[in-house]
Amino acid sequence: MQEQLRILAGKMLADGRAARVLGWKRTDFETAPEPSFFTAQDDLSELVYNKYCAANLSGFMIGAGKRDGVTVVFLKPCDTYSFNQLVKEHQIDRAKAYVVGVSCGGNAKVEEMEDVGWLERCLVCTKHDHVVYDELVLDESLSRPEAQDRFGGVTRLEGLQSLERYEFWQGELSTCIRCNACRNVCPACNCKKCVFDSAKYDTAAKANVTTFEEQLFHIIRAYHVAGRCTDCGECARVCPQDIKLQLLNRKIIKDINELYGEFQAGQDTETLGPLTAFNADTDAEPSIVHTRG
């Protein structure tokens, strides 16, 4: 597949249909290719595609859309949801993107540059088909790990007592070093100015005397992408502390599904998001939190 992608990219650059190609570039470590723009055909020998190409390239298309010419971008099935969501939010200029959908057989979890199995998101993946593409480069021989229940972790936590949940989250969040990687990598998190960069509100860095700052950061990080999070799993993947951020995102997704009907962000570019819509007659009151158990 890697060879096919190089040939395709080379052709697009050669005949001038594309100004640049967005893909994954080889680095010194096999397990850590990095997102990169290619503008010269000669550089394409550095373009790689394998199970370590976990980075979701959709977010980079926001910037690419502001430059001249068409950008070729390689997207795995799950990445196309993020791309679609960004088109829907008018962040990506669809006309300036040439989307090449690529097959995915799951991405490897990498710890200290070692391959340690599958990424959690790939173990629960339900996004098997590309929802947007101009061209597909498929490899039928790739097979994925068998899918587990995506909401299993959330359901287990919901079953605990309030104090147990609190302690669980204290355990997780107190290890956060506020590197902001989870925020920076998220395609949905793309405000130009972020409240968590504000020196005025003591929110810009980790506070060493209190737990509130972590809670604030994590509640808002998850909530800010409510209804827009495609569950692409990038936040949990990049967290150096291995914090189970997916549980927060999925709790919101699960609530949305149960209260307002099944919704998958990025499925299409038209449907109103669950938080930009309402149902005057049937929406639950917030007190439902008390009765749902």
Binding site: S162, L216, L248, E285
Partner: protein
């Protein structure tokens, strides 16, 4: 001096009230001389959908033990549909807070119209009573904001 360990707990309650219904409802409670707990501090907002989750968290950070949100009844929003958006937002926020182990009773939403002075007073009394039972907000506190 003797430290008895006995301290009366005076909670701090933040009430976000929309300008058009609930704030007027609070006014009516006042002019009707209906008693409601003095620990309720009202913040006036143009509409219940003006309330951003950060407002709620910020209130807790600054020492609130409970946060209550009041707006026009569904169908009566001055801006036609602001409260419908607020309803979804706050449902998801309250649920997320609950999921993170913050006591359920610390957040509440109630629709109060301009004519419901009595309901306003009763709602605030009921909420304050619950917060008294829950005690001090420890799980969402910011030590940096504590003076004592």
């Amino acid at each position: 001096m003797q430290i008895t360990g006995e301290q009366t707990f005076t909670p701090l309650i933040t009430a976000f009230c929309c300008n058009w219904c609930s704030y007027a409802g609070a006014d009516l409670a006042g002019t009707s001389r209906l008693a409601y707990p003095a620990e309720v501090r009202i913040i006036k907002v143009p509409c219940s959908c003006r309330i951003n989750p950060l407002f709620v968290l910020r209130a807790f950070q600054k020492g609130a033990d409970g946060v209550i949100i009041c707006g026009c009844h569904p169908g009566d929003c001055h801006y036609i549909m602001g409260n419908y958006y607020a309803r979804r937002r706050m449902t998801l926020l309250f649920s997320l807070l609950d999921f993170m182990g913050i006591e359920r009773g610390r957040t509440h939403l109630e629709w109060v119209s301009a004519a419901e002075g009595a309901k306003f007073a009763a709602t605030m009394s009921g909420f304050a009573e619950n917060i008294h039972k829950l005690g001090k907000n420890r799980r969402l506190e910011d030590l940096r904001c504590k003076s004592s």
